[in-house]
Symmetry: C2
Subunit: 290 residues, 2 copies
Amino acid sequence: MDRLIGVDVGGTRTRVGAVYAGRILARRAFPTRGLAEVKAAIKEVLLEAGWKKPDAIGVGAPAPMDMRRGVILNAPNLPHWNGANVAEELQDAFDCPVFLGNDANCAAVGELVYGWRAQDFLYVTWSTGIGGGIVAGGQVVWGATGQAGEIGHITLRPDGPHCRCGKRGCLEAFAGGAGLSDRSLEHFGQRFSAEELVERAKKGETGALSLVDDACFFMGQALAIVAELLEPEMVIFGGGLTNSWDFLGPKVIAALHSMSRIRPRVELTKLGDDVGLLGAATLPFHFPKL
Amino acid sequence: MDRLIGVDVGGTRTRVGAVYAGRILARRAFPTRGLAEVKAAIKEVLLEAGWKKPDAIGVGAPAPMDMRRGVILNAPNLPHWNGANVAEELQDAFDCPVFLGNDANCAAVGELVYGWRAQDFLYVTWSTGIGGGIVAGGQVVWGATGQAGEIGHITLRPDGPHCRCGKRGCLEAFAGGAGLSDRSLEHFGQRFSAEELVERAKKGETGALSLVDDACFFMGQALAIVAELLEPEMVIFGGGLTNSWDFLGPKVIAALHSMSRIRPRVELTKLGDDVGLLGAATLPFHFPKL
């Protein structure tokens, strides 16, 4: 099991890589569509790496899934992947075992194997949505059927704003990029992107600052809850909103410290945009017994 | 490692047992004092079981501790155990390895080995305080230094009532026996015990019912948070307040279901008052690498 293919299906971009001994020998990145485009990219990186076939393929995706069967269930944000039988189709095409996992859990595997290599940590993707992956005692926490890690959907305010998941007051509704944007529409009658809101907050615009401060406070509360529950040594962040980490990070950490007696070190991923791809490639070695 | 001694140091009672193949061959229970009383009880159960010496001793206690050294740190609720060097003193007295762990984590070990035997679950002690122990993928989640599981001290309302831990709005401040009693003093100018409040709530007294309903709601919110984070198959309850489970349980479960997409089965411990003792006896096999 040396010649590994990692596939990181993102909400907007998909990354495919041929990974050998932790190095990405060949890679493709392209706007997310469906399985056909992924198959074509795998063929290209196999050719470029000089491999006849891979030893295993790992796929990470931000969607509800049946890990045991390797099937994506309903995927409102990934229309081309709705119901896709990922494991069977890629197995048939490349004649090797295929493993499918949640994208944030894959990123946690990437951090465990190639990144900070902590043994007890929480990985958080802070982007349009908020995903999470948990490692405890050097093992990924998958949960009973592989759905663990959903820090974006813990209820912080039962009477809070509606979340895309159907519940109210989830962390994601306050602090996810889409949630922040929704809240700007509610508060200002005008929709701003999360990036715009952060820029306006940096300039000291009171309304934007208040929404961004709220987002950071709730993120800190969520980390504090995880700290008391799991005593991680680190919290590791990735995702688009961390581009503004210099501005957001200190607010998040201050909130964390105000609500937890346990104070894990908080850092950005060491692997940048490759964290999901490298983690997916290593998923075969960390796949749960389900 | 067959002849095991389990010691469950509780806030009010201490239980000591000689455990062989999951059976308690001899036991003592007495009001909690210090290490001298525990040593005497161990000698008695050894004699009764017909053992010259134990193969290992496991001790669970509700106090901050250094698991690596087997030392209890500050223990405001257990004055006789303040700073006790448990591992060294019992090793010297009984010439065998000694393991010290948090009481709720020990109870989780008990459930894992002798109780419901789920592989992914949360154990909750609902009593004067609220403790927790987490098992994920068949492994106890100890955290970086053995302090994981503190569900009683997750912040649910950052502006909520003061908690004994120094923070505000912890689950324990709303739903722990002592917290409930404190809140009765605030609300009625008269202190009731948690048991009295539950009895009054059962009779339909509006004020008491409101406090008890709040307690159950926050307990349900905490379980919902753990469900989204860890996808446990079960939540298992023990502790004094579960004597009123017929009244409290349905309220807790309704709140859990209203705030989580994942709905673990919720049950009482199968091991009754022995859960902590049996878990402590098995702690040697589940002790973390720290």
